[in-house]
């Protein structure tokens, strides 16, 4: 059995983060900090509030993928998979909302297109959730879902969100 140990951490008054302190397999801690990080410095857009959220997002996604890909029979890790998936999904929603709020605050000209792309992606997530809720919570489907999340987030943060940073820098000059 896998057991994940979370710790609540208050980031700011309306932002609550969870840190994973450890992952225990049969009582033994199998957690290794480094391998859970998918974050790269080049993903930074130069806005601290957004960069922190992106880091958190990649961290939660890494946690999720790590559990999905761990060498443990699917049935035994099912609860952990569900837990880390919900944990990540929650944060996707929170982050998209806050990033849109931020875009509004800075009068970002491409906000409508960006919102549309967020909405489309959220819809894709809901479609998977629906499949999962209908009982098809299989290893194959969850693997497919996590792979899509990974590639989508890398592209979105690496490309589309960079334009927010560019706009902020241009405006600041």
């Amino acid at each position: 059995m896998l057991k994940i140990i979370f710790k609540r951490r208050l980031f700011s008054k309306n932002m609550l983060f969870y840190d994973i302190l450890g992952v225990k397999k049969q009582g033994e801690n199998i957690w290794k900090e480094g391998i859970f990080m998918m974050w790269k410095e080049k993903y930074k857009i130069g806005v601290e509030r957004i960069d922190e959220q992106h880091k958190e997002l990649f961290k939660r996604l890494s946690n999720f993928i790590q559990i999905v890909q761990d060498d443990i029979p699917w049935k035994e890790k099912l609860d952990s998979v569900k837990e880390t998936m919900a944990f990540m999904q929650q944060y996707v929603e929170y982050h998209f909302d806050d990033e849109e709020k931020y875009q509004k605050e800075i009068n970002y000209p491409d906000i409508e297109l960006h919102k549309e792309i967020h909405a489309k992606f959220k819809q894709e997530i809901y479609d998977y959730v629906q499949i999962f809720e209908q009982g098809e919570f299989t290893e194959e489907k969850v693997q497919e879902f996590s792979a899509k999340l990974m590639t989508w987030l890398i592209m979105h943060v690496g490309k589309m969100d960079q334009k927010i940073g560019e706009y902020v820098r241009e405006k600041g000059e």
């Binding site: 998918m38 890494s62 993928i65 890909q69 290893e139 693997q143 792979a147 590639t151 989508w152 690496g158």
Partner: protein
């Protein structure tokens, strides 16, 4: 086969590999195929519709596929399971999408169908009767290729 197709796919591949994998991509000599390709370890097929009609086929080796997913996820991948093959399919899909955006600057409006991933070397893949071209590509983690089976469909 027009140079615009080749360039659109080559540039899209370079952009996506740089962004997602931190890898440079170099191009080898273009080959002409006769409608059949011997499949590689991991293949991704993308259908194209619109002003251009046909199929794009990506072929990767086992090792390169595992290495690509390792770079993206930061985790060691042991075998090509559904996570690895889905991630590979998405990378090809993103390249295809970017290539179509590049092609739109030449006034081609196209769409792509969701990627199909075919694992297994034993299959040879027959895609069209028409001649096709293959773009061999090289990176620090291995070689792969993209085959384009495209015909113009502009009278519709």
């Amino acid at each position: 086969m027009k140079a615009e197709y080749i360039n659109s796919f080559y540039i899209a591949t370079q952009d996506v590999f740089q962004l997602m994998l931190d890898l440079n991509v170099a191009r080898g000599d273009i080959k002409v195929l006769e409608g059949m390709v011997s499949g590689k370890d991991a293949n991704v097929v993308l259908g194209v519709t619109g002003d251009l009609k046909g199929t794009i086929l990506f072929g990767f080796s086992n090792n390169m596929t595992l290495e690509m997913v390792k770079i993206m996820s930061g985790m060691e991948m042991k075998k090509i399971d559904n996570f690895v093959s889905s991630a590979l399919g998405e990378v090809a899909n993103i390249i295809g999408g970017n290539a179509l955006t590049n092609l739109s600057t030449y006034d081609y409006a196209c769409d792509i169908a969701p990627p199909q991933v075919i694992i297994g070397k034993h299959e040879s893949i027959s895609l069209a009767n028409e001649r096709a071209i293959q773009i061999p590509l090289k990176t620090d983690i291995g070689e792969f290729d993209i085959s384009l089976f495209l015909s113009e469909n502009k009278n519709s």
